[in-house]
Symmetry: C2
Subunit: 360 residues, 2 copies
């Protein structure tokens, strides 16, 4: 039993399969690009859990199946890890038809996707996300990247996968912190695109925290539908797509300011959404009730709602290097009305007020 | 006075401007993407010659103009040099509208293009080739890459420039070896696509070696026309485009076997074309006269026609990692009839005979 969300990008279109038991099923692995070799890229946490099962699922289709294990964590989302992939692919004589499979969370997906974009100027790849965050957000839409000491995701490519396979059963092995981190990106889709979905999340946050499969299935599917619709209209983020970064400008500053890996990306985004909601209120776009409503939901999802006290100037400095900044002017995703987001510049003084109110 | 060759790739189409005095003219630098900052990426050989003039030409259009100087040479076409670009762009706060200008030869063009493809997931760039090789080949068509210790151009992207500006006057400063290296790629277009152009090159090789501007203008224009036609049909090298690699499989093995930078790329391609012509003859596709004709022209262009004695097994090993290899089978660009090239596998024994005959 699985459901399919399609993402329409012309010749780069692909399907997102969502369901239970997909890792051991036949159908998700059929009709992918043919090659002599499939390479599963994963990390040392996920590999013992799922790498062998994926190898078996791929056995009917690929004569050789290699596994590359990267060190786990955002702190390793860098050139050194990327080069581990290139070194191995070249050492094993992998040609430019080789298909890469990203088995893991957002870090594995972003790095594998970027490696696929660059290896011999581009080989096909498949996303097999095993975290909620990757299933609802990072594995969909073709954003790939590594971090640079001066900023997150600064080096990367827009490069679409051939398919995304979301096996909900893999969420059983997820640590509670990572489940919460994924819920941050689920919650995001409510205020930016779908008030009814925000209502649904509020009503079902208990079931989601308890990993109820039916609730998770709906959350993943609706999140992917919204993301697919946005990315289908603006693949390369020339406009609309930026709304998916609600909470991310503040969140990236938290991640970079504390050092990557200290807070999970989803935790930083959760807290960042509180800040972005506060900014929306201070700019006169939304009523104060919206901020309280979002703060409560984020807290119920087990996420931090108060940011680390890095100092407003340090936050501003970190945010100025954000990719959404242009000509030195910071721009923020804010909520205009429930279900509608937009990009706005904001005076430094107002941003300082937000930071004073939302950090401790 | 300049001529324009257009390359038709739908929304990624662009013009190649060819002429004298373009570096100091106004027109070539108009109507490029607008940005707060233009970044000229060049090397320590080219910078003292032309960087300041290009900065002046860009002054009316970009408020900030930065120059990044990389170390010169194929040996530096690696991640370390690429990262020098990223470090500087981030240190200077360059946003994702920043336009990069590749001022130099093929190495600068390939690295700048790849940096543009990856920086913040893609910024626009302009090719300003100052070598004959870059003007007739590497700056056109969107192939960008860096080398890996295990193989040339293994990490890269297909990423098209906004424009290519070929100022023929910059060829005056080219060392004789580099002029010859560029002629190798000019000669290439004859056997693979245009027998009449091969005749013309034979008749004008003296004028080309003497840097006659009218002869160079025709050579650059006709080369770009042929390359534009091929790339327009097969941007991502799924088939036809591979014919542009005539001589390159052998050539890459020479470059890698000796260590990048020992022979210039064009020198290796010149010698590689002799080997590929020899292979075409041994496979019964072409008469022996073709090999002799090509060998003489390549010699008249000041290029080596005999390869280094690396040993046939080492050549084979180096060629197996070539991007054109698939499923471990090497494939070579061979000439079927004058003006027509194709990809063919070749028995190792025949390739060994070629290597025995063409190395010393």
């Amino acid at each position: 039993m699985s459901e399919t969300v399609s993402i329409d990008l012309g010749e780069r279109s692909y399907d997102i399969l969502i369901g239970q038991g997909l890792l051991d099923a036949q159908a998700p692995w059929r009709d992918l690009p043919r090659a002599a070799c499939a390479v599963i890229v994963t990390n040392d946490t996920v590999a013992p859990l799922y790498a062998q099962r994926l190898q078996q699922a791929l056995a009917p289709h690929y004569a050789r199946r290699l596994v590359i294990e990267l060190p786990d964590g955002e702190a390793h989302k860098d050139w050194n890890s990327l080069n581990l992939i290139f070194d191995r692919l070249l050492a094993e004589g992998c040609d430019r038809k080789t298909v890469l499979f990203a088995l893991g969370g957002g870090v594995v997906g972003d790095m594998t996707g970027f490696a696929a974009a660059c290896y011999m100027r581009g080989v096909p790849f498949v996303q097999v996300p095993t975290t909620l965050l990757a299933q609802v957000d990072s594995s969909v839409g073709g954003k790939t990247a590594i971090n640079h000491p001066r900023g997150k995701n600064m080096i990367g490519a827009f490069y679409q996968p051939q398919r995304v396979v979301c096996d909900l059963d893999t969420l059983d092995s997820l640590p509670p912190r990572e489940l919460s981190a994924g819920l941050a990106e689920v919650i995001k889709y409510g205020p930016i695109a779908d008030p009814a979905f925000l209502d649904w999340i509020e009503q079902n946050i208990g079931a989601l925290m308890a990993r109820d499969k039916a609730a998770l299935a709906h959350a993943v599917k609706r999140s992917c539908e919204i993301k697919a619709a946005v990315v289908g209209q603006d693949e390369r983020e020339s406009g609309l797509r930026a709304i998916l970064n609600f909470g991310h400008t503040f969140g990236h500053a938290i991640e970079a300011g504390l050092g990557y890996g200290e807070w999970l990306h989803g935790e930083a985004v959760g807290c960042g959404m509180v800040m972005a909601a506060d900014l929306s209120v201070r700019l006169g776009l939304m009523p104060a009730e919206f901020l309280e409503r979002l703060r409560q939901l984020i807290a119920r999802a087990g996420l931090p709602t108060v940011g680390p006290r890095l100092g407003a100037e340090r936050y501003l400095e970190l945010m100025r290097v954000d990719k959404k900044a242009e000509g030195g002017e910071m721009r923020f995703v804010v909520i205009e009305s429930l279900g509608n987001a937009t990009m706005r510049p904001a005076p430094d003084a107002v941003v300082r007020d937000v930071l004073d109110a939302c950090t401790r």
